[in-house]
Symmetry: D2
């Protein structure tokens, strides 16, 4: 099966290239009678759009969403929801120079090898712009989950080597890093500004917390809740790893230390990150993803062209020096899609 | 959809509980005319079976595989391959004591919450024994991949806080830890012996390397090769995280450092771990998974019973103090299933 | 994807060849806490088994079902149900003669072309025996549906050119044709006896009625309830067509005649066969399938061998002169699987 | 899973309501480097569009297709193809009157029962207009199949009680009925004109022939080629039955008559309709579907409103008196999608 769909009972299929006519998504499995407007979607898209701060790209994509089907008189009808964002502010001239070159860290080489043809303009289908479609779909999932009492927040936990030391959800949307610690956020911005001046980029870690998930979500043995979240996260271009709860620290831990003991009030710790045996425990679900440094940097790098000739490349253009703050809404969107899907699957089992 | 199947064109469905009649697997999508015998499968199963060393459990499961369909006169026929392993050496008496208790770190609580009934004997469906079915299926995938020139090896990279410093594939199957560094292996064994005496357990890290994968495998945007590998790995009970290539180190790296530059001979580095934009680059695929400490420990831990009453539990029984060496063949099996599936998907695209 | 699975939320995967070790099925998606025993399954299997009457084959397959997983202390656990039937009374000698020949009307030729290898013993995977696995799975679905107030009956409506003129569900299991009209049944038996003496076979029509289905089942636009029933029925080897409600008669009908008008008590007619726009209306679901004459006949027929040489073949062996009565439980089983699957899907939509 | 997708390796997902903003389709699994333009699609759409003749509706839908993704510089890129048709000539006033009534023969009642909300304008999602999206997707499949040497033609075999007596493929597109016999076509037109004057409608039978399919397509045991064709056809709103080859006539046939014998040149007959055991034989694939009379008729019919009150309804508007000629391209489109999908699946098996 081709790979542009995700989910089972709540299922999305995205389409579109960065500099083609549009990007968009069909969401199949939206329950009927949900109040839904373009504003519901737009507010999430605005969090992902470029041009929000100096750590990001100055590109202005309008990212205006249109709902073309599945809503009637302000309510969903149970039929497929198609949402589209037309592409604007495309400057093909920026990209013609690299039509024949493989930018290091980009998917240029692999798309060329896989498909023998690629829309090289702005990375085409491999562009981060494709995630706008996911954020639109995720906004629908988040709205449904909110009615179920489930909330999802993601934030930058670490960037440019600076770690958040405090966790204040109230500050996340108030600093350009979407960090959970305002002091760390300031340091991150400062350091990233310097890195940007050096024509370089840097990575980070985004953490996600999901509250209100009842125990019982996740389908052993393969469609475990953590397995599906891992797939969802690794399907985001810049993400190179994921860990749940204690995560990689568990490698050095003892069973007596890692096991989450219980008393009548519940679990005493949450090293499992809210998932045991692939099924939600009812505790907060906690995971972290590592975000690689943005591949596009305005420095000379060694590469080859499509004929195999060696050359150097400088990726000019308008790019994010650290993509973490813009990955945050994408992580939330994909997490929402997974949780909503598994919520329905669990309910269906008992019917 | 229920969650007991994995893969698309090469698709497995497992069944069975630890102390039921049998565990097994249907493999659908095996090409016809492949020479296949029970010996091909058995040799992989023997690597997973318990009782191989002092770091593992002394339980003796015979783990004898039977092929019941899909093979005729020594060759596969293209019809479903059903492989079964009957359960033996089951001692239900060991488990009756815990029928009403939730063992910390186990899936007891979540299965109880999800299904309101569970086969509590030996963890039932949540038992590591279910992975024997995966190893059987993976053995088929590995045999096919070998004919394609693709090899997969996994090994313990770290356990009980001890990291391998060298990488010698020849030693992996020659030490009880399946570590890639014989000196580290010795230290691991020694330390785990002490931990076992303390009635405790410990975690570790398993690394996997896949060689010979041509560029082009992986289906953007959701069924990326790394996304499907991540799902496969997180579907293994004890795995709590995964990272590709530079992995979590990428959080602190610069773009100029993380980007894998190219010359006419290929990539100069492999921070991407062999996957860019979700598609294989042709470089070695490298990932690591973190394995949590075995949950079953013979120490008193706080827990509750199914009526919510507080109590203490000591998980007696025969358990692995560090499960890494027995996870190794499971990691290889699941990786083989993912790679074979994507190999077919890529070939199908061009047909 | 390989083709040995069917269904989404209630999903079956069958395995096994007619003269291999066993045939069987994994059912994934059985709800937990359902009382289930081998007797529940066996009674349906006994309706399908050969040797029930003179119109059928005198072969005695014991068809004893074993449940190997998914049931604990007499109740389902929500984990995969594996059911197996060991093959017995296999006489390979009967089949060696045809190892290199293509029997007319059989799948020998197409399996040879598709797979380049085939287990020719008793038609291998293409044998009607594979449907025993479906009947086992269907027995589970029927048990669940009964609790939902949904009942399914199929019966021979026509065979050997004789049409039932009355409909009495009470007689179906009391005559060897499983016909709904006892007088027609007698004539059918008589005529088929003569056809059998002529070393020939004959076809028929099986009708199915499903009662108690609430309005709303079926997922437009592709997974319509009639579309999925059609797929299920055409997946039965001997079935060559299906029609719903007025069926092919609708070709000559006027809209004013075919449209089912309504009053406050419901629909005045049921030309739609209980399905409108792919969704159940709440009326009885009615469809008919045409069953081709059994391909195995003990008469000389022209054919070729696997090298293309012309020859004649006489299919000796023990075969059903009219397969309709044994198709009846298979039709019911597949219908039950479709209805249960869609029931869950409809429920899931509203969750 | 929601039901708006069809196919596995060649997979389509449609969206849109009749009188919403647009209808359209995402096609996933189109091979890269195929020359593809909007003209390729438009020519098929023009065959389906309304207003072509007096037997059809006088509505003028422009049905102009736009390709929004998946094509770059005139060639497909292997990424999802999104095609959209904006809705025009919508006259909501025509439909407000029936917002609260269930038109007999329509999906109004079942959509209301299933979703508790429906876009009643022009039947919304249940409109025949949704099939425009299928025809667009089918045009892509047909183009690929043509390169494989596979051709698909469908035509009206019977309408208003008149049967074609000759088969001349050259005349199909030259008469308004798309019948294969020009004399029968004339009679059909004449009779349908009278039926139309009587404010009534009538049904018919569409036959489809597929040439050039190699032996081996179809995946036993469930995804048989005929099973998937049956599902595809029954997913078309007006289709109420399907039969392959000899079809329902097989009910009265003997095995000696129905079996297709072989000589060195191939099959001597084609009662199987080109499919044995669910796998293509290499012979022409032949099937027929029954098309019910158009539900919308301008005669008073008894019905109820959404509150259950009895009333009468006259479905005014511009409707086809016999939908057969416009179903023809939809049948071809769905057949093409099935064949292309199975072609890829068969190729994938051998890779």
């Amino acid at each position: 099966m081709p790979g542009n769909s995700f989910g089972t009972l709540f299922r999305i299929t995205t389409f579109g290239e960065s500099h083609g006519h549009a990007v968009g998504v069909i969401v199949d499995g939206v329950p009927p009678l949900l109040d839904l407007s373009e504003e519901d979607i737009q507010k999430e898209l605005d969090r992902r759009k470029p041009g929000q701060s100096e750590v990001g790209t100055p590109r202005k994509e309008s990212d205006i969403v249109h709902i073309y089907s599945g809503v009637f008189q302000g309510k969903t009808t149970g039929t497929p929801l198609m949402m589209i964002l037309y592409n604007q502010d495309t400057r093909p001239g920026d990209y013609e120079a690299i039509a024949r070159l493989f930018r290091p860290g980009h998917a240029d080489y692999t798309y060329h090898k896989k498909y023998r043809i690629r829309d090289y303009r702005g990375s085409g289908r491999a562009s981060g712009r494709e995630t706008a479609a996911r954020v639109a779909a995720g906004a629908v999932a988040k709205k449904i989950l909110a009615q179920r009492g489930i909330s999802i927040i993601a934030y930058t936990l670490r960037a440019a080597g600076i770690q958040c030391r405090t966790f204040d959800p109230g500050v996340i949307e108030k600093n350009p890093m979407r960090a959970c610690d305002p002091e760390a956020a300031e340091k991150m911005v400062e350091r990233i500004r310097r890195i940007k001046e050096e024509r370089d980029s840097v990575g980070g870690i985004v953490e996600c917390r999901i509250r209100g998930v009842p125990p019982g979500l996740g389908e052993p043995v393969f469609d475990k809740l953590d397995a599906d979240l891992a797939k969802a996260m690794l399907s985001i271009g810049a993400v190179k790893g994921i860990e749940f709860g204690a995560g990689f620290r568990a490698a050095d831990m003892r069973g007596s230390e890692h096991n989450d003991q219980m008393n009548a009030q519940g679990f005493l710790t949450n090293n499992a990150g809210g998932i045991l045996g692939g099924i939600s425990t009812g505790e907060e679900i906690v995971f972290r993803v590592v975000v690689k440094p943005t591949s596009s940097i305005a420095r000379p790098q060694r590469t080859i062209d499509i004929d195999g000739n060696e050359t150097e490349i400088i990726t000019e253009g308008r790019h994010d020096a650290c993509i973490c703050p813009r990955i945050v809404p994408v992580v939330e969107a994909m997490a929402a899609i997974v949780i909503e899907d598994h919520y329905k699957r669990q309910e269906a089992m008992w019917k």
